[in-house]
């Protein structure tokens, strides 16, 4: 980068190779690792994640319990392994739902423009006025806590971002010659929108999904931490942090492990989205 733009464009192949090797590989490695942990947790955890052993309450980390035990004598390591399920479940469904609705509305809005676009954009702008977690909290307040309601709340929270990205992409691409050509060939609007324009947005959307995943993880953990998201007995890292805080000074390890898992997975998704963006747009 410091050599300037010219030399970079000369060695674009090498630059790409160099870019791939840092962010993308690190991101892939972390995310795949957690994915692997999730699959392992289906068939094997060192202990039963929900089994309480009163004689082993607050067992510090060591050989017997890798990350120690909690206030009920449950193995924290096993619970963190099980927590990957909740993290991926909530993240995947929320982001998919948010993306489907967001891309659909954003596509219509950007392609057709006019009054529909203005209404959607105004609603979008207003929704984004509700800071971060507030919208999700309002929805949870109305429907009550629980895994499914958390997913509903986080899906709705994810929609505005996808609308914005898709709309600006459509605004850009609808002026291109290939769209005009498709129209001249007599293709219908829906075919042009979803078969011709939308594939051009895939790279941007992949980055948005990866970024959104990190945000959703954070929001789920936040809701669960407040006791308003995933409810026991489903293991959730945020929920574990909530329970751990009462014993912060007597059993600090209980607060450390779930938070570290959360940080690492979010970091993984951040690396991943940066890595993909480097691939698409080597200027960064």
């Amino acid at each position: 980068m410091s050599n300037g733009y010219q030399s970079m464009s000369l060695k674009i192949g090498e630059t790409m190779k160099k870019k791939v090797s840092t962010n993308l590989i690190l991101g892939c490695f972390i995310v795949v690792f957690f994915f692997f942990v999730m699959f392992v947790s289906f068939v094997y955890t060192p202990y039963d994640a929900n089994q309480m052993r009163s004689e082993d309450r607050f067992h510090p980390p060591g050989k017997r319990y890798l990350f120690g035990t909690d206030n009920f004598g449950r193995d924290i390591f096993s619970r963190i392994m099980k927590g990957t399920e909740t993290a991926f479940l909530v993240g995947t469904i929320s982001i998919s739902m948010g993306m489907l609705i967001g891309v659909f509305l954003g596509a219509l809005s950007g392609y057709y423009g006019g009054w529909f676009d203005r209404i959607i954009m105004k609603i979008n702008e207003t929704l984004q006025a509700f800071p971060g977690i507030l919208l999700a909290l309002m929805i949870v307040a109305v429907f009550g806590p629980g895994t499914i309601n958390t997913i509903v709340a986080l899906s709705i929270t994810a929609v505005p971002g996808f609308i914005r990205i898709t709309r600006s992409g459509f605004l850009q691409f609808r002026e291109y010659n290939f769209v005009e050509a498709a129209r001249a060939l007599g293709f219908g609007s829906s075919r042009i929108m979803f078969k011709h324009i939308l594939p051009n947005l895939f790279p941007t959307l992949v980055v948005a999904v990866s970024n959104g995943f990190a945000g959703t993880l954070l929001a789920e953990a936040g809701l669960s931490y407040l006791g308003l998201g995933v409810q026991p007995p489903d293991p959730s890292w945020g929920r574990m942090l909530h329970e751990a805080q009462s014993y912060l000074f007597s059993a600090p390890w209980y607060s450390l492990a779930p938070g570290f898992a959360l940080l690492l997975l979010i970091l993984g998704f951040n690396f991943l989205s940066d890595g993909i963006r480097d691939l698409i747009d080597p200027k960064y």
């Binding site: 509700f130 971060g132 909290l137 309002m138 949870v140 307040a141 990190a214 931490y225 912060l248 607060s255």
Partner: protein, 313 residues
């Protein structure tokens, strides 16, 4: 229509939409809200009385209009749990939240901008490696976990801090300020990283601009170019980001106040949710969103003063 009158009109329209959305969200409560609030074993007379208090016996449009009318007079209704006007509860908790958010914003600006410039200047160099890594960690850091860690650190290392003990302003303002510092830090640090990243990107983009090459060609010193020419132009693009960050700080403080058990708006919000105190909830949501719309309006206004190009185009 000029730029500013259009903005003002759009501000009021957005405010109205915020009120509509806040009102609408709490209308989709499945089942009878009065029954949900009171619980299944409530007496029928109690339910009827609460329905009347909430205005549920009136049609939707009438309810919205009377609520909106109250809003214009600054009356947000009464909290069910605390049997007090929502406005009073909000004002007393804002005395805690706003100073904390302000403190967090100061930390964000005074750490984020220099950090961003440093990481931009030493981009992909050895000297920039540690700050860049910190920025990366900061962006991924869940602020409530950071809060827990800070609590651990402050209580273990600095013995004078007791978590969860907020000293009221009337008692001792210096102590109150001190007790707000750890939560403000927990809210601020992840946003420091976010701001630093924006500044770094802006720095790297602006560095390629023609006027920078001209400045170097004139023979100006590196420092003069960076801090007199480049920084000024970066500040323009940062102004918009500050609005976003302030929104984020407000959202983040909702959780952090619960981590540190500080009696602010976030704490009030979560207790309103757990007691299903819908009027209070509505009031808080409306207020927070209203503040964000107002901040964005101010930022637009500032932007237009700082950068005259906006007004013309």
């Amino acid at each position: 229509m000029g730029y500013l009158p259009g903005k003002i009109l759009s501000f009021f329209f957005t405010m109205w939409l915020v009120s509509l959305i806040t009102f609408a969200v709490f209308q989709i409560i499945p089942g009878n809200p009065a029954l949900i609030i009171l619980g299944a074993e409530a007496e029928p007379e109690q339910v009827v009385a609460l329905e009347r208090e909430l205005g549920l016996d009136q049609p939707l449009s009438k309810r919205y209009l009377s609520w909106l009318k109250g809003l214009c007079r600054g009356d947000l209704g009464n909290s069910l749990r605390f049997s007090q006007p929502v406005k009073n509860l909000l004002v007393s908790s804002l005395k805690v939240t706003l100073p904390m958010a302000g403190m967090a914003l100061v930390i964000v600006i005074f750490l984020g901008i220099p950090l961003g410039i440093y990481t931009g200047r030493y981009n992909q160099q050895k000297r920039g490696f540690i700050p860049a890594t910190l920025v990366r960690l900061g962006i991924a850091m869940p602020s409530f976990w950071l809060g827990i860690l800070l609590m651990l650190a402050f209580a273990r290392l600095i013995k004078c801090f007791t978590p969860g003990a907020f000293v009221p302003w009337e008692e001792n303002w210096a102590k109150a300020l001190f007790s707000l510092f750890p939560p403000a830090l927990a809210v601020a640090l992840p946003r420091v990283a976010i701001l630093a990243r924006y500044v770094r990107t802006a720095f790297l983009e602006e560095k390629e601009a023609d006027y920078i090459r001209t400045a170097y060609a004139k023979g100006l010193k590196n420092k003069t170019v960076l801090y007199k020419h480049l920084l000024k132009n970066i500040l323009i693009s940062i102004t918009t980001i500050i609005g976003l960050i302030l929104t984020d700080v407000l959202g983040g403080s909702i959780i952090i106040e619960n981590v540190f058990a500080i009696p602010g708006v976030g704490r009030l919000l979560v207790s309103a949710i757990s007691y299903r105190d819908f009027p209070l909830l509505q009031g808080i949501a409306l207020y927070l969103a209203g503040v964000v719309v107002f901040i964005n309006f101010i930022v637009d206004f500032l932007y237009c003063i700082i950068d005259p190009r906006i007004r013309i185009s």
